[in-house]
Symmetry: C2
Subunit: 433 residues, 2 copies
């Protein structure tokens, strides 16, 4: 991976980092790296995520999917970190003959559409929940199971489970003899893409998951004490430093449609890891070139509160643009779709620089399993570093518990939890037409 932070310097951008600020930052990176290295070597909660490429056994995954060579579709039933990694790896290594669907919401309309579209007898369901009690995931799994029974499909023959050591899902899997993999211990879901959580669907689609892990491994070896030599830390440190100088938002803007789920995965990683104690940086997903026609006006001329990260693969399988046969558009006839996309990438970067808005450029070689493993690992390492610099508890997400208790209380009976009672007390000021 290649990270270019030139356009985040104070010489170009405001907010921007002065030369001296960069030196100071590098000292802090060295300290943070020490801390991270200790965490990794002790297998501490969360830090253990950065050991996953070594710890995850690709054979265990390929064995678990070996009986499903007939699969024509894969359905991930999971939510948040139990779905985004799988969607990311699957999309970024595509296209695949076997489609991947994520049932990651409890919208009845969406469930109906997916279940109508997929031929259930040819589908494999991958159910993912560490606790085995995630409401949305279990509800969807019950719905899918029921739909399979109705369609005369034996769900027991079509289901793979990835879960923690205990809980209802583990018990069910063991009672029914389902192929079962483990959510890695000590690793929050959003950091678990490089484990069965993120790799099972891709494996079912025929992706070389060993190559994905090897990409992560190779990157893991490059983590070191200086941002000048470690792209992951360069990214994390610059994002942190700019946040402190006013770049409250971090736009992740890949120029490749297949990286759209990656931008969502990044948004979870960044939001849930860093957004606590009033601190953090707000991630935003965008897609190039499309969002140039939607968001660029704001990025370039709105408040100076954003870091825009422009991401692209350096090689693409391209497609020529046919001759337009009209002078006004002749310039298009000499290029390709990829050539146009790359020109827009560079033009957007220069456009933001000319307006003094900070950007970082990230490039990977191409969209293949190894580069995708590398990219995911680099961003995880960047996030762990940023967490150290922000001084937050990177690996927890305590603020989501209140809502879970409230929702459960509402479903059982409003009186059962204080949180559910608070729902009924809502302040209203309704305007209606």
């Amino acid at each position: 991976m290649r990270v270019d932070i030139g356009n985040a310097l104070a010489a170009v951008a405001d907010p921007g980092i002065a030369e001296s600020g960069l030196e100071e930052l590098d000292d802090r990176v060295a300290t943070a790296h020490e801390r991270i290295a200790v965490g990794r070597s002790d297998g501490e909660f969360g830090y253990a995520a950065l050991n996953l490429p070594d710890r995850t056994d690709p054979e265990e995954i390929t064995d678990a999917v070996a009986d499903f060579t007939d699969a024509e579709a894969v359905m991930t039933v999971g939510i948040g970190g139990s779905a985004l990694g799988a969607s990311t790896v699957s999309a970024a290594t595509g296209p695949h003959e076997i489609d991947h669907y994520a049932l990651d919401n409890v919208d009845p309309a969406h469930a109906r559409e997916v279940l109508e579209e997929v031929s259930l007898e040819d589908a494999v369901v991958h159910v993912v929940s560490r606790s085995g009690t995630t409401a949305e995931t279990l509800a969807n799994f019950l719905v899918v199971r029921d739909a399979m029974e109705t369609a005369g499909v034996d769900w027991i023959e079509r289901t793979i489970v990835t879960t923690g050591r205990e809980g209802p899902l583990r018990r069910l899997a063991s009672e029914r003899g389902l192929p079962t993999l483990s959510v890695p211990a000590g690793v929050p879901g959003r950091f678990a893409a490089l484990s069965p959580v993120g790799l099972v669907p891709a494996a079912l689609q025929g992706v070389d998951v060993e190559a994905v892990l090897a990409g992560g491994q190779r990157t893991a070896e490059t983590l070191g004490p200086s941002l000048y030599e470690c792209p992951a830390y360069a990214y994390g440190a610059v994002a942190y430093a700019l946040a402190g100088r006013g770049a409250r938002s971090a736009v992740m803007m890949p120029y490749a449609e297949r990286l759209e789920p990656f931008a969502e995965w990044f948004a979870q990683l960044w939001a849930e890891s860093l957004g606590k104690d009033g601190r953090g940086q707000t991630p935003m997903r965008a897609i190039g070139a499309t969002d140039q026609h939607s968001q660029l006006q704001l990025y370039r001329a709105g408040p100076r509160d954003k870091l825009v990260t422009l991401l692209r693969p350096r090689e693409r399988t391209d497609r020529a643009i046919p001759e337009p046969r009209t002078d006004e558009l002749a310039y298009l006839g000499d290029t390709t779709l990829g050539g146009l996309l790359d020109a827009e990438f560079e033009a957007t970067e220069a456009s933001l620089a000319a307006a003094g808005r900070p950007t970082v450029r990230i490039e990977i070689d191409r969209l293949d399993p190894a580069s995708v493993g590398e990219l995911l690992y680099e961003m995880e390492a960047a996030c762990v570093l940023a967490g150290e610099l922000f001084g937050v508890e990177t690996f927890t997400q305590p603020a989501v518990e209140w809502g879970k208790r409230a929702a459960r209380g509402l479903l059982e009976d409003s009186g059962t939890t204080a949180e559910a009672a608070a729902v009924a007390d809502k302040t209203r000021l309704v305007v209606e037409d």
Copy 2:
């Protein structure tokens, strides 16, 4: 539509609006409404958008699509405002027998996938560009035309054009006798959803576009001088007032998968209209309940710089959750997917209120053509009002021109534009592994 601003008041949230602030705001709404009413009645640039439901002729649209009753897929070739409205209306009124695809990027991998998936002889292509020179749109159109020719399909028989009064696309359409509709004059693309720009694909899918327009019309009649009586203005005024009190970001979070494109459409509307002169509010798209497992930690415990808008239809076609047969999950067996989704909606709203974070609740009756027309119109009116309050030129997007000149210069020859020359001058600080 129903807008509840109770949780945006200072009694609940920080940032929040005090009672006195609301009164003051209402005076400014009255003045802004006057300005908007004059703009509408004079058909001024931009303000004319709020007359579209009356001005758009549904028959012209149904006539243009009448010859395509055999269509099995619709492809929109457009970008930004020329694609997002169509995707929004199509998705929100779905599901449809006829699929809708948007070719709204110039990623060669994406173009290849769409062209492989769609049966070109059964597809209708809707090409949309006001100028008729939008690089991405014309490049994709050339690629699609070429793919049709290669597949032995006469593209002239399968293409509908929506464009401005002149330009290469208008000329081509007239030379070839293609069904042609007009991008409404005096209305920027992002405000043109309630015109052929946004309605042709839905019409091809069999949506009652007259009902969509009627929903907009009904809402147009309710615009009035007080935020207490006009939900669109209540929303726009509260968003503006909170932005001034620190809510620099506006999260649009529908609890319905079919409104995901709506959230993207809103993001363009808000970003491009308000993001200028260092002002504006940064829109972010999210989806409930999924993003509770991704973004909620940040919304609840990160910086106090967000307004979260929770949007839902009040009625859904629901689906029961089958009995879980395990005590820990028994509470799920008494409800439905929609019941769970609604409980999570209310729980999330209460969770943010309990943490003193401002939210606004928007409810529409259901996902049908009339409610969708209403929703789009309300948000456009909200945005026009917010533009008046921010004091920006709501209907222009000058900051995107620099990048367009740079990209074109790069494709022709780096020397041809000053902007392209600036690209070559980029400041670099590369970290690589």
